[in-house]
């Protein structure tokens, strides 16, 4: 019989409209930034979690709106004479709103999936907990909204909750930010998950567990507050909330850096079947075709013009640019790929080729990230056999000058200097690469 009542509530309460509003609002937020998540599953799920900034307060407001029905309809006296206990009576209402929230959240994901399915190759299993915890959080929000709305059933409550929740979620991380940078365990209590910067990580299981425990506790507290008749029982609702917070904080990873862990399956290299091998990380497998041409061409150019040329292309999961100062491998040509909305490489093939040959086939290191780029560009120009393209910050045409000067030297000397530049850049040392090109040796 409760199933029948649940069906009636699904049809006649605000559940249906709330689900639709959630999907529409969610899609309206996802698609302006489709370039950031297009073609890949995990970024879609993580962006959706970040948008809980807006969805969570809206769910609160939706719950409060639904809770107004009892007082607007003035059914208190009529229902007061019925035997069924309050918690059984309100369970279908809460259940209908919960179903609506899950449907809306998954619908929003499906709306985004339309842009991911055609091109994505890699489906991370870590996706499922991310989406599931997100759905659980909006369910907890709507039940909490029902509880607060029952307590204060005025017309001002839904907007106050929505707006208050929004302001709270936006300012909460700011407060923690100024307190220092070692509090993020508590930050996990916010349903919003901070989006990691690259595609090669997944969220740690302990972070998921902590959030699940907290959200389940919040859900229980909210339902208890909503369904209880006496004030004493309602006050007891604080107990599961506090307990849940304590347990969640105990389980949560200690520092913000521990929230994300390397996703080994995403980093596994996927390679072309023909030689020379061009490989990308599994998560970017859809860009392999785009990389194949420039990659093989770069290898050919390097093999023709330099000694000890690399024999394969591989995508580097750790961004050497930001993280690493170790020497780079000499036998492999590394590439940092940027992906566009349809899963392919963001850069056109010609630009990719220039990028691959930059610094004679080396990547910028963390300790020299902004240095020596004219020399690197000149080396790439020498390999390409073309003048270096004009760049925005190229005041005085330094790269062009270096390339011209290089061109004046005998062919053997050119080759030796570019090879020396490559060796120095591979070592990630703070060698003056321009000096290598002009003077032919590395000044100490």
């Amino acid at each position: 019989m409760m199933a029948r009542v649940l069906r009636t509530e699904l049809r006649r309460s605000s559940a249906l409209w709330t689900a639709i509003a959630l999907v529409v609002l969610g899609a309206a937020m996802l698609y302006p930034v489709v370039d950031a998540w297009g073609g890949r599953w995990m970024p879609l799920a993580l962006w959706q979690r970040e948008y809980l900034f807006v969805l969570w307060p809206m769910a609160l407001g939706a719950g409060a709106w639904q809770a107004r029905r009892e007082s607007r309809a003035k059914v208190g006296e009529l229902f007061g004479a019925t035997p069924r206990p309050r918690w059984q009576r309100v369970a279908p209402t809460a259940g209908a709103m919960a179903v609506a929230m899950v449907a809306g959240y998954l619908g929003m994901f499906a709306a985004g999936a339309v842009s991911v399915v055609p091109s994505a190759g890699y489906f991370p299993l870590g996706l499922l907990p991310v989406v599931a915890v997100g759905a659980l959080s909006v369910v907890a929000a709507v039940v909490l909204g029902l509880a607060i709305g029952r307590m204060a059933p005025s017309a001002f409550t839904p907007p106050a909750l929505a707006v208050g929740g929004l302001v709270l979620l936006i300012t909460l991380p700011l407060a923690f930010d100024s307190a220092g940078d070692d509090v993020p365990g508590a930050l996990l209590l916010s349903p919003v998950l901070y989006r990691p910067d690259d595609d090669f990580v997944t969220v740690a299981a302990s972070a998921h567990l902590a959030q699940v425990l907290w959200l389940v506790a919040l859900l229980a507290a909210g339902f208890l507050f909503y369904a209880a008749v006496q004030w004493r029982t309602r006050a007891l609702a604080a107990v599961p909330a506090v307990l849940g917070a304590v347990v969640a904080l105990a389980v949560a990873p200690g520092a913000e850096a521990d929230v994300t862990v390397p996703d080994l399956a995403a980093r596994k290299q996927v390679c072309t079947s023909d030689a020379p091998k061009v490989c990308v990380a599994a998560v970017h497998a859809s860009a392999l075709e785009d990389l194949r041409g420039p990659g093989q061409k770069a290898l050919t150019i390097l093999a023709a013009k330099l000694p000890l040329a690399p024999t394969s292309v591989a995508e580097s999961p750790t961004l050497w640019l930001y993280e690493d100062s170790r020497p780079q491998p000499a036998g492999t040509l590394l590439v940092d790929l940027e992906i566009d909305a349809s899963g392919g490489a963001a850069e056109p093939q010609r630009d990719l080729l220039w990028q691959l040959l930059d610094g004679a086939g080396t990547r910028r290191c963390a300790n020299t990230v902004n240095d020596y780029w004219p020399a690197r560009l000149a080396a790439a120009a020498w390999l390409m056999g073309e003048p270096p393209p004009a760049r925005m910050a190229d005041s005085g045409g330094q790269a062009r000058k270096l390339w011209d000067a290089l061109g004046q030297l005998p062919a053997d000397e050119q080759r030796a200097r570019v090879a020396a530049l490559r060796t120095a850049a591979l070592a990630c040392a703070t060698t003056d690469l321009a000096g290598v090109l002009t003077r032919g040796s590395a000044p100490r």
């Binding site: 930034v33 307060p57 001002f156 907007p159 106050a160 929505a162 707006v163």
Partner: protein, 191 residues
């Protein structure tokens, strides 16, 4: 004067005004912490959205059917209500100038208040005063999350957080405001 005070009480305006003041002060004090211009615009947009949402329930009386039987002409009064709503929100926002640390310039305050008040009125005509808060709050929240965009229709769609001089933003705000005020003046709130 007595009639005006009765009208305001019947529409629960005093409580809403309190909410407008409290929320503007709260957001202004967040802005005191030396935030940059972009965040300041976000706070101003939020303040305008909260203010108009708080005044939204006052767009319908306790018994709309009874109101409709009144002898006096409602459309000019309803239009006046929307204008007053915009003026109050703009005024409270612009009053922060007096503190020396303004939450918004007069242009931004007027634009946001006019546009969002019109949007609230439009929503009241379409969805009823109880739900009228939803479009302005949702639109502002989405815009706050996505950030001000540049170029063409995207600039117009994110009009609330654009800087004061942006022409497309002002035009959008005025268009929405006028459409909303007209719709509400003509039809009144749905429920």
């Amino acid at each position: 004067m007595r009639l005006l005070s009765l009208y305001l009480r019947s529409r629960r305006v005093p409580a809403a005004l309190a909410a407008v003041l409290v929320s503007t002060v709260a957001l202004w004090s967040i802005g005191l912490a030396g935030v940059d211009a972009k965040t300041r615009l976000v706070l101003a947009a939020l303040a305008a959205a909260i203010g108009t949402a708080a005044l939204a329930p006052g767009l319908v009386g306790a018994d709309p059917a009874l109101d409709r039987t009144a002898a006096l002409s409602w459309p000019p009064r309803r239009a006046g209500h929307v204008l007053a709503m915009a003026a109050v929100v703009a005024g409270v926002l612009a009053a922060t100038v007096l503190t020396g640390d303004p939450l918004a310039t007069a242009t931004v305050a007027l634009r946001n208040a006019a546009g969002l008040a019109g949007l609230v009125a439009l929503a009241a005509a379409a969805l009823g005063a109880g739900l009228a808060w939803l479009p302005p709050v949702a639109w502002t929240a989405v815009v706050v999350m996505v950030g001000p965009q540049a170029g063409g229709y995207r600039e117009a769609l994110t009009w609330m957080v654009q800087p004061g001089g942006t022409a497309s933003a002002t035009v959008t705000a005025l268009a929405v405001g006028a459409a909303g005020a007209l719709a509400y003046a003509w039809r009144g709130s749905r429920s």
